[in-house]
Symmetry: C2
Subunit: 156 residues, 2 copies
DNA sequence: TGGGATGTGTTGGCACGTCCAACATTGTTT
DNA sequence: AAACAATGTTGGACGTGCCAACACATCCCA
């Protein structure tokens, strides 16, 4: 697929750094997820999965709320919903109380699709974590969550 | 800086997944590195650092070799060198033996700049790894390197 | 000695994720 | 009523990573 750079050939100052390893892990994750989404087809991507997951877990809400809770920009939410609605995975109707606001809800078909995507993504987890033992996987997940969820280290 | 999404608000199916945590770690790394490079100024970015590091460690070589050893596409190497050369951090002269080939070498100024960038990036490591103890950092680095450097899992 | 294959630097472009600015429109606050 | 804030949308920017095509140089082998 991609050229894949031989990891033995990496400047030592780079290889030693945590940020570099995170970047390389991310590259692998991206490659695996991209391939899996492509294979599963239908042109859905990680944005769509995130939105479906949020709607499934928290129920219907406005697009703005959806964006805030998923960390996706309002404009990108608009775009992604434009993909999901025509597929019947999501409905959009304007809030009767607030004419400007649109309430988004997941459909039964959307729930089904979400389940399918769950399976696809679980397969990716398995492939990604393959080099580690179950105990190591648990350790990695724990450390990763501490490194991932850090309040915005705002400059000074 | 960026909006930063409250991690407590994340669909459980996402939060549980290793790929998601890697993505979030990468987002943080990107934010920290971007801020650090911006602050240090001069418009240099991670591409430039990678190239300087490779030239410093392995000596002068052609652009194509440089690209192969760093995993950066030939065309992107061309672009990045176009930033480094005018700053005097790098020299480019055509190989006397092969008129088509250009040998790139780091200059003393480039070495100095590389050292400065080292310091900048080390600062980022510290901030990124802050939530972990030294022992945990070592564990994380070990696990991350196993997850990062995996031969191209070509399809089947 | 030729001629096809292969390597090289460069330009231009695409895809993807992320983010921001502006805008018309609708609600809220005072 | 007037200033203000929120909503959905459009259009665009940027960074990273690819790939295709090109003109040219060099190599290898028939």
């Amino acid at each position: 697929m991609t050229a894949h750079h031989d990891p033995a050939d990496t400047p030592a100052r780079l290889e030693a750094r945590a940020t570099w390893r995170v970047s390389r892990m991310h590259a692998r994750v991206t490659r695996l997820l991209g391939a899996a989404f492509d294979a599963d087809g239908d042109g859905l991507r990680s944005y769509h999965y995130r939105l479906l997951a949020a709607l499934n877990e928290w129920g219907a809400m406005s697009q703005a709320d959806l964006g805030r809770r998923t960390g996706i920009d309002r404009s990108d939410v608009t775009g992604a919903l434009g993909d999901l609605e025509p597929r019947g995975l999501v409905t959009r109707h304007t809030d009767p109380a607030h004419a400007r606001r649109k309430i988004v809800a997941i459909t039964p078909g959307g729930v089904g699709r979400l389940r399918e995507l769950d399976a696809v993504i679980d397969g990716v987890q398995e492939r990604f974590l393959a080099p580690l033992t179950p105990a190591q996987r648990r350790t990695f997940l724990d450390l990763a969550s501490r490194l991932a969820d850090v309040p915005p280290d705002d400059g000074s």
